[in-house]
Symmetry: C2
Subunit: 192 residues, 2 copies
């Protein structure tokens, strides 16, 4: 998605440790009209797949997942990162390492919200090592539902998550695929 690559070039900031900061439009302040366009892209890509549920993980996936789900006219579910005092015991779990936050989270979805026969589109802001996506896929498949694919705003294509998942047969649609980025020069290159 050309407009997204341009926006990343303009507003994205590269930090050491493969950190690409896009807090001005993706995951702190959210450029809502622009993210609606991203949601439409996901809809166009997956509109014939029978999607009846969109799944993401808190917190930075929620806005784009909500905006995307409206084009499918279906519910959105987000996996939670901590056990709150008013969540049911009847939950689906996965363990997810966060390289950004340098921690391991249990993520969970109440069983009642993902059911056998569901056709689930997973949406998230970033794909790098694939940790979050693998956790969400595990939750969907443990529920006996089907992952129809994943819509990702920015894939760090120089990390192995996307390649490994495509190798397993999952359809991963990333709107921008970063080939390389350099914290010293700030230069960001995309996969052709």
């Amino acid at each position: 998605m050309k407009a997204l690559e341009e926006k990343i070039q303009k507003e994205g900031q590269v930090y050491p440790g493969n950190v690409l900061k896009v807090g001005s439009f993706v995951n702190h302040q959210i450029d809502i009209p622009f993210m609606c366009e991203c949601g439409k892209e996901f809809y166009n890509e997956f509109k014939d797949a029978g999607v009846n549920k969109v799944l993401t993980i808190e917190a930075s996936g929620i806005a784009i997942a909500a905006l995307t789900a409206q084009y499918f006219n279906c519910p959105m579910v987000f996996a939670k990162k901590t056990k709150t005092s008013n969540i049911a015991d009847n939950v689906l779990f996965a363990t997810v390492k966060s390289y950004t936050h340098n921690c391991v989270n249990q993520i969970m979805v109440e069983k009642q919200f993902v059911n056998p026969g569901d056709k689930v589109l997973i949406v998230d802001d970033f794909l790098a090592m694939g940790e979050a996506l693998n956790g969400l896929i595990k939750i969907v498949e443990d529920a006996g539902a089907e992952v129809v694919g994943a819509g990702i705003i920015i894939e760090k294509a120089f990390q192995e998550g996307g390649a490994a998942l495509r190798e397993k047969g999952y359809k991963i649609h990333s709107l921008a695929r970063v080939q390389s980025m350099d914290a010293e020069t700030g230069k960001i290159e995309f996969v052709d």
Copy 2:
């Protein structure tokens, strides 16, 4: 909003400690078409207020805030609850007690995303003691911006948050106002 009251009656579950669980459509699974209608209600209420930014707090406010912001055609910002490794030092802070999670959070927004002259609509799923809303108001006002009001899905009107904020002159628009609820009988009554 009659349809919301009906939905709360049908799907809401009351637990001891004034917990109203609406995870089937508000804050775990999100009924996106329905939440779009709620967002339109907020738009209708505040459309003449010059809103140029919607503010919420992670995680359960994000979906409704994103859907609401699209009607205002403006950006949405969400306050974060923990200091991540890639957030700037230049942030606005507030301290917020969560009665649901029984903890105290620092919430923060990068200064660059709330500016003097901004007219900010705050959106959240619940208003009870007003802790989160007070924290978000502090952040907006510390930035020299203006709170034009707050759009709330469910207000627990038997707790003091809403009354105290209206007393101070803030416009609080709650789509459903719970007068009382009973964990034993499951009965929920709304303010007329």
